[in-house]
Symmetry: C2
Subunit: 353 residues, 2 copies
Amino acid sequence: MDRLRHSFSALQVDAVLVSHLPNIQYLCGFTGSAGLLLVESSRSILFTDSRYTFQAAEEVFGARVHIAKRGLIRALGELLRSRSGRQRIGLAFGNVTVAQKQALDGAAGKRVRWAGDGNAVEKLRAVKDADEIDRMRAAAKLISEVFEDVVPEIRPGVTELDLAAKIEYGIKHRGGSGPSFETIVASGPRSAWAHARPTSKALGKRELVVFDQGAILRGYCSDMTRTVYVGRAPRKVCYLYEAVLQAQQAAKRAIRPGVKAGDVDKAARQSLERLGLAKYFTHSTGHGVGIEIHEAPRIGKGEETVLQENMVVTVEPGVYLEGLGGIRIEDDVVVTPQGAVDLTTAPRDFLEL
Amino acid sequence: MDRLRHSFSALQVDAVLVSHLPNIQYLCGFTGSAGLLLVESSRSILFTDSRYTFQAAEEVFGARVHIAKRGLIRALGELLRSRSGRQRIGLAFGNVTVAQKQALDGAAGKRVRWAGDGNAVEKLRAVKDADEIDRMRAAAKLISEVFEDVVPEIRPGVTELDLAAKIEYGIKHRGGSGPSFETIVASGPRSAWAHARPTSKALGKRELVVFDQGAILRGYCSDMTRTVYVGRAPRKVCYLYEAVLQAQQAAKRAIRPGVKAGDVDKAARQSLERLGLAKYFTHSTGHGVGIEIHEAPRIGKGEETVLQENMVVTVEPGVYLEGLGGIRIEDDVVVTPQGAVDLTTAPRDFLEL
């Protein structure tokens, strides 16, 4: 909260209103599903509703809790209108709907001016502190272990849904609070859908299977993809797997503080381009991860964001060939002066099962 | 899509731009995570990105698919700017961020005027057709069966997280595509948190345990809460359970087409009020459910929305006493001329385990 306050003068604001729940969790610890956090220079107030009376009392630090009886925006507006003088308040316009903004304008009255907050909280969140990195290492280790537990169950006849269910059971069984996104298990031609949901399709013999999974542990996400082959893989598939692994290594080698995110993406893409495979790599190389599964920075084509020490990002190139299937390999890494350090512990060898 | 087009003249628009993903799924079947659907009077176009090339080709009906290479809003803008004449396009301001609206304004140019769409798609979705009700009945039956499978595992020493994991495993094992929200298992004093996440806390003897869970099956959600007692419940707890069950029955009896949603809420609240317990009922009585876990109509204090035949809503009164814990009972019901018909099949008897 104090780091956010230090940005007030650069943003030319008297306060920042935080509406995005992961930002609220980051700043004051509250994990409920309804909240507005007003951060002023000398104090902070969390507005929530009566469902969260007990939870807020237990979780919130660094902010007073106000239980709003007739709507959060209304309660906030009453407070703001009770203040004397004009106020300029920062707001993340990417996290507020047009309808919410209209309600805020109506509730706060004419003495409040809203200004873009320059994604101030997202920028703070992109660089992790030591405690956050510890949590993320544990979350990455947990999902690695869960996947390795499930590997012996991968065989012809088992359904995508049943494997996804086993992975999600494993996450909670090992103490995670749940999956960080809906687990992907996609087999055969369906593995060419980069974001396929698992279905009741059974694994066939001689099929690629993409597993994309993550866990939330103590409030922080992990994200990991492994691709396996059911049976003995043809040479072409082994070649493609090796190409993706090389692209991933190239991207990891490009990572260090001071490098542009777009250059990391370029490293993966050029590695595939040399083998004529870049056209099958149809998404970005990676993304920041933390309280949310997708957060700053984005590791994509032409991204100008400069990597900083202690950012945590995914590195996940892939190739997708219609009919044949897809191959993706993804790890979470932390940016250090020595380069990318893996948080994910599961091996990357091509598994033929 | 045609029902939406019929509302164009009342909305005074030439087209509607749909940005909310569940609305896109409802109208054209697409389930990817990036999409913009432009519904015009004579045709519809879905904008998505290259991750979804294959998936869109397989899923989408009633719309042409445009794979946007450099951003969905940009591709939409190019199309709109190629059109001659002025256009007035409906947009749900509650589903678009201020930043997105600014990008739309920039991309579409000055000949496009945006108008509120009066939540036209949400209103269509609130009333289900026969196929949707069949799916929701199946989703409600599935979660009922999953819960009944888990009941024998409820005993002192098992953790909240492990029970939640078993429920979520059961959902996929029985063919659901996953939980419709993060499963709640909250025991002892934590059960007084209406939206507690499960933790590694073990169930103790003589504790209330609230289970709030739902499944997604063939694209539709169920939502069900049951409260059990570990051990033989004291008379006070049995009394509270009976009070909540009576409040739920009172709310169900108030449901029929033509009744205001607020009057259903009032029926539950008055039933508790007669026992002096209304002050412990700290949330709304229910909400619509369908493609999303929370959709129109809201069943809360003073809600003016009139219930219509074939709406599907939850009925979920509860009482929460700090220190003692919480009790909530929730079913999904469909509104029929004969009153509320339960979709949820799990018994509502108080289980002392």
